[in-house]
């Protein structure tokens, strides 16, 4: 029997097939954002774009953080708490001169990395389930936030803050540039590193990955550690937006849950091994744009959770088409 193959397809066609989830999220976002802008009284001005970007980049970064453990078939329920913890700590140490502020930023990133590493270490060496591990560590990280900042406040280095939340050349929102830099400096090299590849392998089939000699443990450790770093970048950006820190439990919880939603909308499989942080960014943008749309159409903000829920359901049901192809009914439950 000669097997039918698709060898004639060009590399580009494969690229589209492999990134269909991301592309769907991009199309969805562009459509929604165009609708938003065309109904906005001011249109697409730098100010409108910057306001939208400053809000959206926070969730985009947290969603990127969530993507990494999810790719290894894990979950990180502590991303929102690391985000808030970074915000609280930054509001205390990113102060003074620009130089002192930069040192503070580095310290916050290191603390985020440590928080993520602790998650990874417990998952890898403690062999606990990621979901319960990060639920517990998340509570710890939130507790630390409360110690650091019992009440809202702080006096953040405003030069850095203004630079990173303003506009570049009076047009491009600086927050988007930050996001782009994170993608170029963290995500792309990670995606193309051996350990990044290993993360996908582990999520795809951990046993086969082990049998193939893939560094399973290192891959998981790095995924959780980088998740901590990305969540703390988001925490820093929140600090620069508000010039202060606040140990807010609702913010921590909402960001954690919305990060999972963004990951799914962006085409990443919660079963691991498939997806991309780029998709999660656009998943986050989609979620944020829902809020803006409700605003320009003068709908009460009370509707927002309902609409977010509907969009999430639509996105998830795209993935349910696989049921039509199943040959062995048992596969539906595995």
């Amino acid at each position: 029997m000669k097997t039918a193959t698709t060898g004639a397809l060009s590399n580009g066609r494969y690229w589209i097939a492999h990134n269909s989830g991301v592309l769907t999220a991009v199309v969805l976002f562009v459509a929604m954002f165009t609708l938003y802008i065309s109904n906005h009284s001011a249109g697409l001005t730098p100010a409108v774009a910057t306001t939208a970007a400053n809000k959206a980049v926070l969730l985009a970064l947290v969603a990127m953080a969530q993507t990494l453990p999810v790719l290894t078939r894990g979950l990180d329920l502590s991303v929102g708490m690391v985000f808030v913890m970074a915000n609280c700590i930054a509001s205390v140490i990113v102060v003074g001169t620009v130089g002192e502020g930069m040192l503070g930023i580095v310290a916050v990133l290191l603390i985020g990395a440590l928080a993520g590493f602790i998650n990874g270490a417990i998952v890898v060496w403690g062999r606990l389930q990621p979901i319960i591990t990060t639920l517990a560590t998340g509570a710890v990280y939130y507790g630390i936030s409360l110690f650091v900042r019992p009440g809202p406040g702080g006096d953040v280095q405003s030069d850095i803050a203004d630079l990173l939340t303003g506009q570049l050349f009076n047009t491009v929102p600086a927050a988007l540039v930050v996001l782009l830099v994170v993608v170029l400096v963290v995500w792309i090299p990670y995606r193309r590193s051996v350990l990044g590849r290993a993360a996908y392998a582990v999520g795809s089939n951990e046993q086969a990955a082990y049998m193939s000699g893939v560094p399973v443990q290192k891959a998981k450790l790095l995924a959780y550690t980088l998740a901590g770093v990305l969540a703390s970048v988001a925490g820093l950006m929140l600090t620069f937006n508000t010039y202060s820190g606040e140990a807010s439990a609702p913010i921590a919880g909402t960001y954690t849950l919305n990060s999972i939603a963004a990951v799914v909308i962006g085409g990443t499989s919660l079963f691991g091994g498939w997806g991309s942080a780029i998709g999660s960014i656009f998943g986050a943008f989609v979620l944020r744009t829902i809020e803006d749309l409700l605003f320009v159409f003068d709908l009460p903000p009370l509707w927002q959770p309902l609409f977010q829920g509907v969009v999430l359901l639509l996105a998830v049901s795209l993935g349910a088409f696989r049921i039509l192809r199943v040959r062995n009914r048992l596969e539906l439950f595995s």
Partner: protein, 522 residues
């Protein structure tokens, strides 16, 4: 003449001098109380093709796992070029040159072929994976195994099984093995591909690679192997060179064991039993090909053959688990559509399937013995106001007594029971539904001898009460002892039916290996 003599002398002395690349010394492996390997000495030389033969459970897989660093031996040592080594994981074995093509594929389905081929040591540029270089490497390796039709960017999950197996072989070649282990590596290949794999193996041999070849196909072994080693019950029986032993003698070596079980007496065969289940022309992919047979009331029919020839799929198909099965099934003379377990349970003769893996498909481990037993039969025990607790307890107690389930309490979690007793709970669950057709998927695997015998007795008792039983087992002795007839399956087809005197170990093994009588005579 002279020069030829010198040549062969040099060749002889090279043979005598040569040292094994891989050597196992007095290797034993025990899993719990069960010995999988006992005191095995084994070696593989550079440039030889060695076949490993043995029945299901003879210890071949364990041997391979130890050689390739998947598992540690309980006793004994592994040597590479005479130096003792201890592989902690497959990576270390690969670094030492021992590369295995596993039977259960080690490819990552959600990744591209190129990614899979360079999963450990991808070509890099500035510390990052060089996608271009990786694609080229993939193209070269795919060309080497004759799979130019596979695009490097295709996802492995989209490839047909035969191509996946070739990719798996390409992946192993990419690691520059000194010892290549092929574990049933040709089972899913097309005839063209098998020839190509033979070619690759012979080339590797010429370049000094030692090949360890596990296969159930005698013909392949005759075509390829220089030497062969037979295993039985975890012991090495003999290593011999090609041509030293006849196929008959080899089969003798593979069987040669005493019968240890007591089986309940079989009734006289009778022709006038009504047919309980009639299957005609069943087909499902490669796994089931044009299968037709009858199952009569009061009869135990065995499914024989090597592991993984489609027996499990056949049972799943009859129980309605597989989608897209073609052919017809009639139960008690009435045609029925295979549409899921619930439909099968409510067929004219209720069906029951005892699954192969009781832990994942049979039991709810944290739930109690009682809840597990009544799960499938709850509607029968329900009154107007839900499940009647008294009726339920009474029914469960009857089963516990009948099957002699050893449990501290009806409400104890099933996870607290021993393997044999867990299996009894699974059986009890399905007996509660009063099935007329019972499908058994290797029900005695991994349980103790005492419980096995109780299960054999129970099967015969049920058959005598009129149930029709289809019984898949990987243990030939069990098939012979329990069954009225055995259908031997090879490559998705029923190759032979054995009954009465013809139902013996020699015939079973020969049909399982798909060697027919004419071929042996030749």
């Amino acid at each position: 003449m002279f020069s030829l003599g010198v040549f062969s002398l040099a060749w002889m002395s090279a043979l005598l001098d040569r040292k094994p690349y891989l050597e196992l010394k007095q290797i034993s492996k025990r899993y719990g109380g069960v010995a999988a390997l006992t005191g095995v000495d084994f070696s593989v030389y550079p440039g030889e093709i060695q076949a490993v033969l043995g029945e299901n459970g003879a210890g071949k897989s364990t041997l391979i796992k130890i050689a390739s660093g998947v598992t540690d031996p309980t006793e004994g040592e592994v040597l590479i070029e005479g130096r003792p080594v201890r592989f902690r994981n497959p990576t270390e074995a690969m670094r030492a040159g021992v590369v295995c093509v596993f039977q259960e594929l080690s490819l990552l389905p959600e990744m591209t072929v190129a990614d899979n081929l360079s999963i450990v040591d991808p070509p890099k540029w500035l510390g990052m994976i060089n996608a271009q270089g990786q694609r080229e490497r993939a193209r070269a390796l795919l060309k080497r195994v004759g799979c130019e039709d596979v695009h490097p960017l295709e996802l492995v999950r989209d490839l047909p099984l035969s191509r996946r197996q070739m990719v798996e072989i390409a992946k192993a070649l990419g690691r520059n093995p000194r010892i290549l282990i092929l574990d049933e590596a040709t089972s899913a290949l097309t005839a063209d591909d098998v020839e190509r794999v033979y070619g690759i193996i012979r080339d590797l041999k010429k370049s000094g690679v030692g090949i360890l070849y596990v296969s159930h196909r005698m013909r392949e072994i005759e075509a390829l192997a220089d030497t062969a080693t037979v295993f039985r019950n975890g012991r090495k029986i003999e290593t011999f060179t090609k041509g030293e032993r006849s196929v008959d003698a080899i089969i003798e070596m593979m069987i040669g064991r005493e019968v240890t079980h007591q089986y309940p007496p079989k009734p006289e065969p009778s022709a006038d039993r009504p047919v309980a289940l009639a299957a005609a022309n069943l087909a499902w992919g490669r796994e089931i090909q044009d299968v037709s047979f009858n199952l009569k009331k009061g009869e135990i029919v065995g499914l024989g053959g090597l592991d993984g020839q489609g027996q499990r799929e056949l049972l799943l198909a009859l129980f309605g688990v597989l989608k897209g099965v073609t052919g017809t099934v009639a139960i008690d003379g009435k045609p029925i559509k295979l549409d899921g377990p619930r439909k099968a349970m409510h067929a004219p003769l209720p069906m029951a399937l005892i699954p192969e893996d009781r832990k994942t498909e049979g039991l709810m481990l944290p739930m109690s013995v009682r809840d597990n037993m009544t799960l499938a039969a709850l509607p029968r025990l329900a009154g107007r106001f839900g499940v009647d607790a008294e009726k339920e307890n009474a029914a469960v107690q009857v089963m516990v007594d009948r099957l002699r389930v050893k449990t501290p309490d009806l409400l104890a979690p099933v996870s607290a029971l021993s393997g044999g007793n867990q299996q009894k709970v699974v059986l009890a669950k399905w007996l509660m539904t009063a099935p007329g057709i019972i499908l058994l998927n290797d029900p005695t695997r991994g349980i103790d001898v005492g419980t096995k015998q109780e299960i054999y007795r129970l099967m015969r008792e049920l058959a005598n009460q009129g149930a029709a039983i289809l019984f898949y087992s990987t243990d030939y002795a069990e098939l012979i002892g329990c069954c009225d007839r055995v259908l031997v399956v090879y490559d998705g087809k029923i190759r032979r039916e054995l009954a009465g005197e013809a139902l013996n170990e020699r015939n079973l093994l020969q049909s399982a290996l798909n060697i027919d009588a004419s071929e042996r005579a030749a």
